[in-house]
Each structure stands twice: as C-alpha cells, then as structure tokens.
C-alpha cells in the first residue's frame, strides 16, 4: 500500500453551484454568436439564464410551465439553424417531456442542449417529486444523446460551451447546491475522458457530478483512519463513457458513487464496461435505491448513504471487514 497521490484538492473557500457554472458558460458561448437561443419553463432564476435573457432578449423565451411545448419548440428552432438550450429541473426536463426529447430532438439529431438542473437528492427540501434520480438512465438510452455530469463550477462552464458547440443533442445534468471548486479556470476538459483526482494503490472510487467532493473526503478518511489507499476518478462524461479508463484499472475493487439511482447511471456505465472487457474486479455501486424525501442536503446525503463518511464506511466494510468497527468509531464524531 502506498499513500494516495492527490492530483487535485478541494478548494473549500470557493463554493458555487454547477448551475452557476452553466450560466457563465452559456454567456461565454453566446459571445459573438447569433445562433444561441434559450428557452426555460418558468425557471429562469433557478437555472441561471437571467443574464442571458437580459443580454439577448430576442433569443430568450419563457414558455411558462409547459415542458413539452418547450422541447417541441426547441426542436423547431434547431431545425431552422439555432443552437438551442432549454432549461428546467431534471425531473421535468427530461422527465416530463421525454417523448419530445426522444422523437423531436434525439431522433432528429438536432442541436439542442437539454439542461436538467436540481438533479439528485441534493435538491433537498422540495422533496421526492423534485429529486431526479432516474434522469441519466433515461438519457443514456437515447442513441444520439451525449450525457454530461460536471462536478464543479469550472467544469460546468467548460462543458456548457462544448455542449453548445457540438450542435447535437446533449443532456447537461446540474445541481442546486453550492459545492467546492475542484478544478481551476484553466483546466481543460474533454468529453469522453475521465479525470483522475487521486491516485491510490488499493481500490478505485469512480464518481460523477457533485458527489465528487464527498468522494475526495472519503478517500482522505480511508487513508488516515483505515490505511486504505483509494484512487478517485471523476467521470464528467457519462456518454460517451471513458471505457478505457475503467478497463485499465488494476485494482481488485471498484466502487461507483453517484447522486442517482444505482440503475442506469454511473454504476451501470461501469458494470457494462467491466462485463464487456472481462474485468475481474468486484464492483460495488453506491447511489440511491429508493425515492428521496424532504430534508436539507447534508442530512439527506447522510440518511441515504451519500455523504463522505457513509461512503468510506461502505468501502472499508467491503475491503477490510475486520477493521470496520474500529474505523467507524474513529470517524464517528469527526467534523468534516
């Protein structure tokens, strides 16, 4: 066992939401362009498109509480040459208008970025109806869809610009909560390529979206209190998925960790890859297996096993069952 090498660290002094990064990326992408058109289903403020609206009022429409017409209109606009970005909460977009996304956007292969904000349990107090835990599963299954899941502000900004430039159907999954910066403004991101954040020697923890900061904390806890050296690899792109990155893992234990159901998201991406390349490692998928409920972000993550301590305990139990009780005692009262 060797100490994990940290290639990136959390910047807890800089805390912003991925939806804010999207708002910035949208403005950057629209600079000098006459083609970007933004639609929202009455969630202008929450999805951070107000600044776009103020700068380009002729290319912004709030369709009202009407996600289906938003998707159909987006497709119609895109068929005439616009690069369309349409925003709402992930439960409604693509949840409510999935037939439109499938038949009008994906089947027609049109230039529309579907922005599903407030995804995951992290949405918090609004409760189960507003916590999208199935959206990645829906969108990954569409043949022409790219699925992106940034972990921090800067990655969100970069992936937004790339998504618009692709001029194809893209799903961009964002979160409500403010989370620490992991990357700098100069970091380069490539769709289809994972980023190794920590290099460890005992196991690999794959993560996606805003659970990244909890993954990094879990890796620290595991080394400090259980002498387990765990790599952390972030997948900002779930489709195309960096299969080579997973196929090349040398460890005997691979864990996936996401604020999404364990069916159809990152866990399934890893399972599919491992099965197809004959990977001999054991896979453990950490994510949700039920609907959520109302609560604050931190309490929800703790209850549903998505906080750093729960993830670390899960990994320790799997890999060092005899050390589990002692590890649990050590980290129980730690304030992270």
């Amino acid at each position: 066992m060797s100490a994990p090498k940290k290639l990136y660290t959390l910047d807890a002094s800089n805390v912003k939401a991925t939806r804010q990064g999207f708002g910035k990326g949208l403005l950057d992408a629209s600079e000098g362009s006459k083609d970007v058109f933004v639609l929202t289903a009455d969630l202008e403020g929450s999805t951070n498109v107000t600044a776009f609206k103020e700068k380009y009022p002729k290319r912004f429409i709030n369709v009202g509480v009407a996600e289906q017409v938003m998707a159909g209109t987006a497709a119609g606009l895109a068929s005439e040459g616009f690069s369309v970005v349409m925003t709402s909460f992930a439960v409604f977009n693509p949840g409510r208008n999935w037939d439109f996304v499938r038949a009008q956007i994906a089947l027609n292969n049109l230039s529309v970025v579907v922005v599903g904000s407030h995804a995951g349990l992290a949405t918090g107090e609004d409760g189960a109806t507003h916590q999208a835990l199935e959206d990645v599963a829906l969108m990954r299954s569409l043949p022409t869809m790219t699925v992106l899941s940034p972990c921090d502000f800067h990655e969100a900004a970069s992936l937004t610009k790339q998504a618009i430039a692709l001029k194809k159907p893209v799903y961009l999954r964002l979160a409500r909560q403010k989370t620490p910066f992991i990357f700098s403004a100069h970091e380069k991101f490539t769709i289809g390529k994972a980023k190794t954040l920590v290099k460890g020697s005992d196991a690999t923890l794959l993560t996606t979206g805003i659970t990244c900061d909890q993954a990094l904390l879990a890796s620290e806890l595991l080394f400090k209190y259980a002498k387990l050296s765990v790599s952390v690899v972030h997948h900002g792109s779930l489709k195309p998925f960096d299969t080579q990155s997973v196929a090349g893992i040398k460890h005997k234990h691979i864990f996936t960790f996401e604020d999404h159901n364990i069916v159809g998201g990152l866990g399934s991406c890893a399972a599919e890859t491992m099965a197809e390349c004959g990977h001999r490692a054991k896979l453990v998928r950490i994510g949700t297996t039920s609907f959520g409920q109302s609560g604050d972000y931190a309490s929800l993550y703790k209850k549903y096993g998505l906080d750093a301590k729960s993830v670390a305990l899960r990994i320790c139990k799997e890999m060092r069952p005899t050390a589990y009780a002692s590890f649990a005692r050590k980290i129980k009262t730690l304030k992270l």
Binding site: F37, K58, R59, I61, V63, G64, A66, Q68, V69, A71, G72, T73, A74, A75, G76, L77, A78, S79, E80, G81, F82, D99, F100, A103, Q104, L107, N108, N109
Partner: protein, 293 residues
C-alpha cells in the same frame, strides 16, 4: 374562388391522389387511409395553389414549410409530394418497407419535402411554433402550415403550443385541423369530446375559420384569407371533413382509420373513385357548356 378550369383540374387531381394513396397502402399492407382521404383535398389546394415552394430545391431558405403533425396520414403527404416532383412516383410503392424514405410515420432527413418527424400526436404544433419563432426572429417572411387531426387536440401539449403561439403573435403560422370526428375508438365527440374547437382556438387568441374541408373553393379562400389577414394572431382553419371521403364503404367508419384494404376492397374502391372522377369532370364540362347552370 378558383377558376373553373383550375377547379376541374384540381378535382381530377384529388381523385388521382386518392387512388395513389390507396394503392400504396395496399402494397404496404398497413397504413392509414381514412384520414389520408379526409385531408387530401386540403393538401391538393395547399401544394398547388398556396404554398411558396420549389420541389427542385427542397431546402430553399424562403420556402413555406408544411408540418404534418398527424403523422399517420403521411400517405396523403407522400402522394402529394411525389405528384409535385419532390421524388419519383415509383417510390410510393416502397411505403413502410425496410430502407425506404417513406417511413410509416414521416421522419426528418428521410425524404425531400418532409419537414418534421410526425407520429406521436400533439408534437407537431409545438415544432411548428419553434419554426415560426425561428422565421420571425430571422425576419424570414415565409409561412408555416401545420396539418393536425382533431383527435390530437386531446393531447395537452397541443394546447400548450396553441397558447404559446398566440402569446407570441405568430401570424406566420396556420394550423389546419382535419375535423373528421373519428379516432381509433370511434367518434371523437363520444370518446373525449372536443366540443367547439373553433371557440377554443378563438379563446386562446387565434383567428379561426370553419370550412367544408372538401370544398376546393372554400379551402382556397380560407388559405387566401390567412395570407392577407393583418391581425397579429396565428390562424386556424377547422376543416370539417369525412374520414375516407370518396369511397362509400370507408366513409365515416373508424375501422378505416388504420386498416389496409384487401385486393377486393382495393379494386372496388378504385372503381368507385374512377367513376366519381369521370362524373365530376363531366359535370364541369357540361356546366361550362351551359348544360347545367
């Protein structure tokens, strides 16, 4: 009003197109003849007298666009497009066959002249609204014509789009409703009544006219009114039609919404259409000669 000679020619053409529709559905062994027959008179006028388009340049930027929201009645569209010269008539017999551009429900990018993917009902008006907004934003003066069925007005998404179009004063948008009062389950007004469609559209902020959807003169006048009206409102033509119009054993029977004829039924229908076509043309000639006033 159409000129008498035009009226005669277009009547003749509408019967020809009906024959083509039925032959292609027979060949495919599946399809939707009933609605295809109820809308074909509207399409005949639209493509021959109203639409600004060039079949040799299907992507001409200044063309008018036709959205077929009721995608299942695509045999009517395909027959019309072939007649206009968008693709060879020989392709009509490939309807619904593997590898054919004539998909069972039309898809964008598959065939020249097809402007949208239709099939899931209630998606065409939203798509048409997007196109209308795009043209308005780019200051392109072309029109959007969206052909819908009455049944698809049971889909809530249609009404989302109807509201949005009026809110944005999309006066470049014309929706045509094939009001044949038939859906798979039977009569629309008995399954889930739409009641006064004209009043509903009006309440949503549209200009609306009701017409007999088989009267070529009235269809033509309705389209002309759309093109010249100055009000900043989208326009709806509620075309009252008969499912299966033209073939007596198909008319008004929900069975013919989505069934293909067998050989015997095909021959019987073609014979009836032939007879009616000759009779109508004869009628025009006799009228011209003053035999009928």
């Amino acid at each position: 009003m159409l000129r008498k000679k035009e009226h005669k020619e277009l009547t003749h053409k509408s019967y020809e197109l009906r024959k083509e529709i039925l032959k292609m559905i027979y060949e495919a062994k599946s399809g939707h003849p009933g609605g295809s027959f109820s809308i074909i008179d509207v399409l005949t006028i639209l493509y021959n007298k109203v639409l600004k388009h060039d079949p040799k340049v299907p992507s001409w930027k200044l063309r008018d666009r036709v959205i077929l929201s009721a995608g299942h009645i695509c045999p009517a569209l395909y027959a019309t497009l072939a007649d206009q010269g968008y693709f060879p008539k020989s392709k009509l017999k490939t309807l619904r066959k593997l590898g054919s551009g004539l998909q069972g429900h039309p898809e964008l990018h598959h065939l020249p002249g097809v402007e949208n993917t239709g099939g899931p009902l209630g998606q065409g008006i939203p798509f048409a609204v997007g196109k209308a907004l795009a043209l308005k934003t780019r200051n392109i003066p072309s029109k959007i014509y969206c052909v819908t069925s009455d049944g698809e007005h049971q889909e809530g998404s249609s009404w989302e789009a109807i509201g949005l179009a009026a809110h944005h004063k999309l006066s470049n948008l014309c929706v045509i409703v094939d009001r044949n009062n038939i859906q798979i389950g039977g009569k629309v007004e008995e399954q889930m009544a739409l009641r006064k469609l004209k009043s509903k559209y009006h309440a949503f902020g549209w200009n609306v006219v009701d017409i007999n959807g088989h009267n070529l003169n009235l269809i033509y006048d309705a389209f002309r009114y759309f093109k010249i009206h100055k009000r900043k409102k989208p326009f709806c033509i509620v075309a009252h039609t008969i499912l299966g119009k033209g073939v007596s054993f198909m008319q008004d029977d929900s069975k013919w919404h989505g069934s293909a004829p067998n050989k015997e039924q095909l021959d019987k229908a073609l014979a009836e259409l032939d007879k009616k076509q000759k009779k109508h043309v004869l009628f025009f000639d006799l009228k011209k000669r003053g035999i009928f006033k």
